[in-house]
Symmetry: C2
Subunit: 310 residues, 2 copies
């Protein structure tokens, strides 16, 4: 089986939306990514760090999804990364109420020996230095390296970020981050500048408006499914990344055509995550549900305009 290695946070989230409020629940980019990727026939490896307060049942949940958790370090003297946030009616806006980095503050990823030859490497949103430390621990360069990042690293360590971006094949960022990183407003121009920084593909995430994928010669627009209710957007981007890289690890086809498929699969999975709090939906996803949702995505955008109409 082909191997995906995901590096990302495994954490506690506490979430408030107009529709409800949670206690501390399982969260983190690595968690959502690995759970999404668990829908593929791949070896699904996760590198992360948690604290002494992290429940064994959450680790067991990951194991039950065939995630190899031997790369999750458990710190005996630190607590687990904790984020609390509140979403408003416009789900694109959220207030961060609490960020306790805890065990993530001084995270130096230790990649186990049997994790060092992945076919696909997914670098979740961590400091660009940590992301690079992971790349440097690989025995051979993975066939494809994807990374997530955020505006915070553009504001605070742009040079380090540029170094890491230059080493990857796929960059996943949102539209505003694409504009910030490139200094360009219009996305095709902005994406072109980002491509010149190294990646072969830039995936621009636009939340309720879907996602765009740019390569030097091509562009593809994946819609977002119009949903009656976005219950909790937490983890949607990480689920997208996990679906995207999991699909690539299984298919090992890095053509633009297959990148399109990977983006649709990621989008379909993310559309499930937002239906319930946290990982509740994605951890129980069935293949049938996923098939049906992908069919909805096809139906949503396909048209057959006859050529002889004019």
């Amino acid at each position: 089986m082909n191997t995906l290695l995901t590096v990302g946070s495994v954490a506690f989230d506490q979430i408030e939306t107009p529709y409800g409020k949670t206690d501390k629940i399982l969260g983190g980019a690595g968690t959502f990514g690995a759970l999404a990727a668990s829908n593929f026939n791949i070896t699904n490896n996760l590198v992360s760090v948690v604290g002494y307060d992290f429940p064994a049942e959450y680790l067991q949940l990951l194991k039950n999804h065939n995630v190899d958790i031997s790369g999750i370090e458990q710190k005996e003297d630190e607590k687990t990364f904790f984020w609390a946030g509140k979403y408003h009616q416009n789900m694109n806006q959220r207030d961060t109420l609490v960020t306790e980095l805890n065990s993530l503050a001084n995270f130096v990823p230790k990649v186990p020996g049997h994790f060092k030859n992945p076919d696909v490497l997914m670098l979740g949103n961590l400091t660009p230095v940590v992301q690079r430390q992971v790349i440097e621990q690989m025995n051979v360069r993975p066939k494809i390296i994807a990374m997530d990042t955020m505006n915070f690293w553009m504001d605070t360590m742009l040079d380090e970020l540029h170094k890491t971006i230059s080493m990857v094949d796929v960059l996943l960022i949102n539209d505003e981050e694409t504009r910030q990183l490139s200094g360009e407003y219009f996305l095709p121009v902005a994406a072109k500048k980002v491509l010149q920084m190294g990646p072969k593909f830039v995936i621009v995430k636009k939340g309720e408006h879907g996602a765009l994928i740019f390569s030097e010669d091509d562009v593809f627009a994946a819609p977002a499914l119009p949903l009656d209710l976005v219950f909790d957007p937490t983890g949607a981007g990480d689920t997208f990344a996990g679906g995207f890289t999991g699909f690539l690890a299984q298919t090992m086809d890095f053509s633009f055509e297959n990148m399109k498929n990977a983006v649709i699969v990621g989008s379909a999975m993310a559309s499930f995550t937002v239906e319930k709090f946290g990982t509740e939906k994605i951890q129980h996803l069935t293949k049938d549900e996923l098939f049906q949702r992908i069919e909805l995505f096809k139906k949503l955008t396909s048209f057959e305009l006859p050529k002889d109409v004019f």
Copy 2:
């Protein structure tokens, strides 16, 4: 030939964008709509009003595009509607610098006798009372009536607006207006509420994010073409409406499948309008250009995800 009747402003625009500035140029919803619709093999009728200062050459331009302008009243004692606006880098935001209603202020549309049996009626964004006055002048109800509107009428004459909306088949509004009109945030729920007001189809325009079309049972997402430069967005929505209704008038197929096509055609035409100031691009559009752009729209969203991949 099937007949489209468009009612909408014929006006002067003065536009400033980050890329340049115009003098008073030809504008107005009726102008953009009729020019877009002139790409179809239909009888293309326009009802509007202008002032004594409106140049004969602009009327001639419409005539040269086979627009029947006998429904354009020219007031001898009033000036033409004039709008001046300034766009910022984010082309979704604009400041209105001048609005002189002039001849449009007391516009009572007079539909010429040979205009009173259209197959398709497009009501541009005017007061809901004027829109209804047009409907009431028809000899028989058109097979399809589409209308544009805006938040201003929701703020100032909601009851009149509801009356007019209840009489039409297709409502074209943007996402924020859909939310305002329905009181619902999530678009599928909002659209469902708007459909209960009378229309069979709601088209939700999202600018750079494309458009959605909702019927009771279906939804379709048309992408917007990612453009290297939006030079001037003025008239994009009106071009969309003209392309949409012109296509429907030619094909006379009001199934959801063909509504999808109409939305794509409208989107493709609008993507030309924004490339230059005012009507400059849409008035010189060739069928070859249009074909090629529609192919781009197909390429932009089509994918062939194999079913046996999981």
